[in-house]
């Protein structure tokens, strides 16, 4: 039984196919990077996997459980950090994590202990009882990561989890993910940041315009595309534009095409 399995996973919004026939299996203990340009269908895939959206066609299985048919059972196995950073801001971190603990039927004392330790390790222990309305993006992200881990899930879906985090916390999170994978957790990691994916992921899946265009280890993708880096391989697989000409055009647009002409240059 695979940790995660997508069979012909498809999502259509009105006339737009956001995700088209994605087939993917991920074994336990693997960190799988899920890459793609803006609007490629990464977040839509994840939302179907965690039960936030219903697939138009196909199925998403979590440890063999169909998310659409037995959502509660599947969701018990999942931890999710959403890209939106949505949480109830008018609660304190302690209240919010207690709510999450209740939703997963955690022992209240266990949940409270983990809450204190998470917030302490993430350096926001002094904000435990403050409303999150006043939190920075990074502080909220730390609470969201804590909420994704508090019930000790076997599978983690992370959508741009480093968003807003400072360099030290980002480093801690990257090492934490490696450690959790070594302990058998499966991690599905969505990101635009290629160097992080390159550093921590065992496997990289690239999606473009709703379809998987490449799947393999980083070195395999480099060989496949005859490129020296993951960045070049990614560009080769997903970009149809000439980067140099785009850069020149943008610079000309900013400066009006002439060095030093920065006002009224559009005439």
């Amino acid at each position: 039984m695979h940790a995660i399995e997508f069979r012909n996973l498809t999502k259509r919004f009105d006339t737009v196919d956001a995700v088209r026939g994605v087939d993917l299996t991920i074994p336990h203990g693997q960190i799988c990077g899920y890459l793609g340009p803006n609007g490629a269908g990464k977040t839509t895939t994840v939302k179907m996997a965690v039960g936030m959206l219903m697939p138009t066609e196909g199925t998403a299985l979590i440890e063999g459980i169909n998310v659409a048919e037995r959502p509660v059972e599947a969701k018990m196995r999942i931890g999710f950090v959403p890209e939106t950073g949505a949480l109830y801001e008018n609660l304190t971190p302690r209240e919010y994590l207690a709510l999450v603990g209740n939703l997963y039927h955690l022992d209240p004392e266990l949940a409270a202990g983990r809450t204190d330790r998470f917030l302490s390790h993430f350096g926001i222990a002094d904000a435990t009882d403050r409303l999150m309305t006043s939190f920075s993006r990074g502080m909220r992200q730390k609470v969201l990561i804590s909420a994704a881990l508090i019930h000790n899930p076997s599978i983690l879906f992370l959508d741009e989890p480093l968003s807003g985090l400072d360099a030290n916390t980002a480093l801690v999170l990257k090492e934490l993910l490696r450690d959790l994978a070594a302990r058998g957790k499966t991690i599905f990691y969505c990101s635009h940041i290629l160097e992080v994916v390159e550093r921590i992921c065992d496997r990289v899946v690239i999606i473009n315009r709703g379809e998987i265009v490449a799947d393999g280890a980083v070195d395999e993708l480099k060989v496949l595309t005859h490129q020296a880096s993951l960045e070049d391989a990614f560009t080769d697989l997903t970009s149809t534009v000439d980067v140099d000409s785009i850069v020149r055009a943008l610079s000309d647009n900013v400066t009006g095409g002439e060095p030093g002409s920065d006002r009224g240059g559009d005439s």
Partner: protein, 549 residues
Amino acid sequence: MSDVRTEPAEHGVDMRQLRALIAAGIRLDMRSARRRGRTRLGMPPMVSMLVTYLIIGSFLAISLWKTSDPFTFALLTLSAAMFMTAVTVIMEYSSVVVNPDDHDILSHRPVSSRTYFWAKIANLFFYVGSTALALSLPASIAIGLRFGGGVPLAISYALLAIVGCVSAAAVVVLIYSTAIRTFDSQRFSSAITYVHSAATLVLTFGYVLVPRMLMREGVALEIPQGRWVWFVPPAWYAGTVELAAGNPGTHNVIFLLMALGSAGAVITLALSLISLDYSRRIAELAATSPNIASDRRGSRVSTRLGLIGRALCRTDEERAGYDLMGRYMHRDRKLRMRIYPAFGLPLAVYLFGLVTRSFADPFGPRPVEEGFPIQELLGFYCVFITLFFATAMTQSDQWKASWIFHAAPVRDRVAIIVGARKLVIWRYILPFFAALFVLLSLVIPPVSAAVYLILTLLLSLLTFSLLSLASPYLPLSQSVEKTRQARQLGLVMLLGVAMGALVAIKETIRDAPLPGMIAVVLLALLAVLSEVALRKRLKVRLAREEFAG
């Protein structure tokens, strides 16, 4: 998985999750909002809203103290309470009934649809029940004292008021639920604002105007068996109150059955329609909002006046405020949903006047028998529109984008507000009055219609300036919070003053045209001066304003 005590229920209601969600919901309702960049625990917004409603309820109970019988008293107070509850639910619909944020935060958690549904219902009942109690508590005390029923009658009245208000809220839920199930997502996105306005129209007609008509015809003061009574839900509750007051007529027993039966039916139906799946549909609608920029045109009058308004913008900042407000009014469905219902109110009054032939030349000979003051009510709701604009135009889900006004080298931030206000006036208020002039000219002499509407327009502009002082923020720069808009209903008191001025000037014109016209000119001058004062006040206010994100 070993950390989990028991598995949550897949299909039924999970009591532990339910308790946690209800507690969190109530906590969120009661929490104070963040203001101007710092967390400040002042009076919780819901408490402040309840205090406002308590004051309105007291005002209502005192003003109806002299009513001759419990039926009439209950009919009028319950109509007002049910109407205000329904309007509150309409105004706060996205946060009270279905909050798309719930979908983002909860839908990946192991919560069954039924658990979520019951948590939402409990929160809705808490919200509506509190509102109903605040509105009807003074009336319940008054009815107990005034008609000799004592505590039992007061308690009966309060319970009936809560049931009636919850039913009114359930009607709103039903209207929206039916709309979302009837239309596909694309058509629903376009239709929802009009559904919203239609709901307001129906409620205004049913809950406010028909009881007044009953009063006028004397039906309600005598035996409540006129045919209108059987179609007016507040009358069923009022009949039940009369039954509790010791008048056991057959009609009152039927009223009791109709009140409880209809309440049971609409609440049961509404309960069957709220679920997390419903919330998901709302969220998907938000995510796939169709591009309406190119396919929607305003009316010709509205567009032309809009172009004149933009031409009248004197600076780039004013034009920026004008364009921003215009595009959001055009594309932001939630913003339109907060404002458009206001137009349903005067339209309901107009239809009512048409049906009952209540319109009379406001400047013609004074009628021998004082009739129903339909023009005044029309004028009141025209002025009322500005309340919706003044409060809603400062709020947006994307309020954090207002950082641009703080970070960009804007010389005059007041001009941005002025530009947004010009958009509202030229693109919405003036076209609305133009349309109303055409409609009113069908029933009263055009010259009288013109003078009356000019008078009402001047009062509206004056009120709009004063209301903007109460909400002195950059356009779309405040978060959309539960109760924020409903709390502003307290400003209705200010509209009462405008109403008084409208009647006084109208009567002056009727009796002595020259002094009356001088009063109109003075009013115009006052409207201009209030705009100048508003700008000065805003300048001081905005100098202290910091970005709150």
